[in-house]
Amino acid sequence: MTAAPPALLHRVGDLALSWLDARREMFRLTDEDLATGRGIVERLKPVGELAINMRVLAREGVAGSRQHDCSVRLLDHAWRELLDGGNLLAELQRQEPLSPVPLEVYASLHELGHRHPGLENAIDLARSTRSWRALEMMPSRRLGVLNAERKLGLVPSGDMAEALAATWLGRMPEPWTVQLHIAYDITHTVFHLTDWGAAPDRLPPEIADYLALWLPAWMADWAELQHWDLLGELLVVDACLPRPTLDAGMWELYAAAQSELGAMPVQGPMPEGSPETVFDQVHHPTLVAAFASAMATSRALSADVAA
């Protein structure tokens, strides 16, 4: 396996970020979203992902100044326009006091310096109950909540190792059983465990070995299926490993799937339709592309790429 050249890795993210920046007004909450709690949750998830992505770009310090400006504009737009300076999250917490969603979205924004004391009080109130620790959720999401608490400087409401042990990846089952939803459980477990790549050393060695062994098989398969959204997340996982492959073959396929303007389709070719429709369909894989690029470029510039 040959590692992809840093210029290729970088270009994917540069294009993706430009595309997102030019369309930042399309990250929006519709009236319907605001009227129904569920709509808000669905719309807030990409906002959280956006914030996390931008934080990674800033942290990795691999983006050029133009990219940094893009990421700051996107982040400010998310905080000011979409979240109304955090008021929207506080309102959501008031409507649903035990919801972990505001915490999950706020943690990254907080880390980047945005503050909403009222929201923090509401999160504290939820955390003071036994109910908070008893909330039922997917094990990989539990890891995300614990990580969000840690990022806010709070004592995590559960044990990270126990939460990991409850995930699919934590049990290291037969790799040939992985299907689409299992693959996303794996990627999210790695994202939350490593704090979105900030702390790759939080991957226990046996899990890092397991991923190094089987990730190439999963990547090859979803590359053949042209599932760019998942391939992008798997490329992020690769970049989180102690010795990433940054496999040139995979990155070339991935880069070739990107539109000239920088958008990444979910699967197969770019969809057609109105700009809004296209944006709604491809903003997630395009965010992933920016994220994967930042992570991989950073790792390529360090010396620990697998042979």
Binding site: P175, A220, D221
Partner: protein, 232 residues
Amino acid sequence: MLAEQAQENSSLSTVVADVANGVALALDGEGGSYALSALLAQDDAVALAAVRVLGADVLAPYALGAPPGGGPDEQVVRKALAAYPPGADASEVSVWSYRGLVEASRAFLPAGGDWPDTPQAGAAWLQTDPWPRLTHRASQLAALALPGLAPALAAGLAARTEDLARGFVRAVRRRDWLQAAGAGRWLARVPDVPQSLGLDAGLVYVRRMSGGDPRVALHAAAARRFHLRGPR
């Protein structure tokens, strides 16, 4: 002409399936005593082609230590070798497969003596193939996983256990049960197959999911009988 060809192809796959089924039953310890010639209604071109397709596996039950095959088996194998020798431009897989049948004939058929020479088969791919292609070829040559055959091939593949294991995962994901079963059969031979692969469960899964494909069943049965892996 096309219809004729299609008919020939379909009857070839039928005969291949019948013979594979007979071999799998014999390896599973069912169906009484084994004789290749008894599985072939006649030794026409299609039957000989089927022998060539399955290669060394047509003699697999004799590798269990049962009495070696008799004269009729020997005749049909000789005819198959004569009818379908690898040409000058044959693929490496075809040469290896032919070689496997010659080696198995020497080992498991009584006559000895004048079997064709074993042709030199290219082996560089064992080192150079990327893992998906390596797995594809290895799986096509799974009949050579019989004990004692093609030691160089076995050693070359044993040096790439992790790559074959990845190929097994990819093949299952692609629902290519035959490729998965062939790769799994090679993996069943080696002691250092990654524990997290779950090879035993994998072989059971592949055999079930194949919906009774006799060639898949043959590989799974061989993995169990010769290497104690997979379906119990």
